[in-house]
């Protein structure tokens, strides 16, 4: 409990300092939603960064756009739809499940399944080849004959 309190206080200090630096961070509810949404969005300039962590200028502009949409009372889905309609599925870190992205979502499982089938077939074949060979009567007789000599 105490730890949570200390953590909360330190966050507050952070907010107080950040507040001075960025006058846009006025409404904490809006900012929280902004961070939440922008973590799921890709910055298009520095493609391996999320919109929330990127310091690229375009990311700034897009965050401003998202902030405005939040203030305009749009839902998370509506905001994402807007960005997808402008920049394509590429902005989403978690692309929608639709026919075009099926390979992306289910491809690895299909590969796993195929690999599993191959493994099973291989193991079965191996087990068959490892079966102890039974000697026929004629062979047994010949072995005994050889051992006797």
């Amino acid at each position: 409990m105490k730890r949570v309190f200390v953590f909360g206080m330190s966050m507050l200090i952070g907010l107080a300092i950040a507040g001075e630096a960025a006058p846009l961070a006025q409404d904490p509810v809006v900012e929280a939603r902004l961070v939440h949404i922008s973590q799921e969005l890709r910055c298009l300039v520095c493609q391996n960064e999320s919109l929330s962590s990127s310091r690229a200028e375009l990311a700034d502009d897009l965050r401003r756009e998202v902030r405005d949409l939040i203030v305009a009372n749009k839902s998370d889905q509506e905001i994402k739809d807007f960005l997808v309609s402008r920049y394509g599925d590429f902005v989403l870190y978690r692309p929608e499940v639709k026919p075009l992205t099926w390979v992306l979502w289910f491809g690895p499982f299909v590969v796993l399944l195929i690999a599993g089938i191959f493994l099973l077939a291989y193991l079965r074949q191996r087990r068959a080849s490892l079966q102890p060979q039974v000697l026929s009567d004629a062979e047994r007789a010949r072995v005994e004959q050889l051992l006797k000599d």
Partner: protein, 192 residues
Amino acid sequence: MKKVFIPMVFFFGLVIFLAIGLNRDPREIPSPLIGKPAPAFTLVTLESDKTFSPEQMLGKVWMFNVWATWCVACREEHPVLVAFAEKNQIPIVGLSYKEIQPQDPAAKQTDAIKLQVARERSAVWLQRHGNPYTTSVMDLDGRVGIQYGVYGVPETYVIDPQGVIRFKHVGAVTPQLLAEKILPLIQSLGKS
């Protein structure tokens, strides 16, 4: 024979996938705007306080080119655009995208002063390098850029007489791109 065959198929399959995947440009993101109506906007132009909207271009095939004086790749494509404009085939409208960058000293000024500085700077630049644009519109805060999915200046769009975006290119326009993609497209749009 069969034992070699299956790994061979896998191997060549992998080679084909890698050959395609590694030769693609990761910056080239397919635009979802192709085939969609060009987003509407109203902005003042570089030349005067008269405003421009895409709907004024309905009935014409036109090119929309995003540029800025700070953009290095724009300098590279500019002679290509100037030469293209001289042939006078279709109007080219420029989008002066965020002329005043945040680190610019002028960024702290009022909007009116920013607009004035941007206009002066752009006009000087166009005088020096040539002006291929029938008009340029001033997108100082980059909002129209976002509407058009701009993420790397320069970008170029071809818009048909119905106001639908038919083509988008990110990066400098080259003579090759003009000859192979843009001109055939303009011709086919002009006929229909």
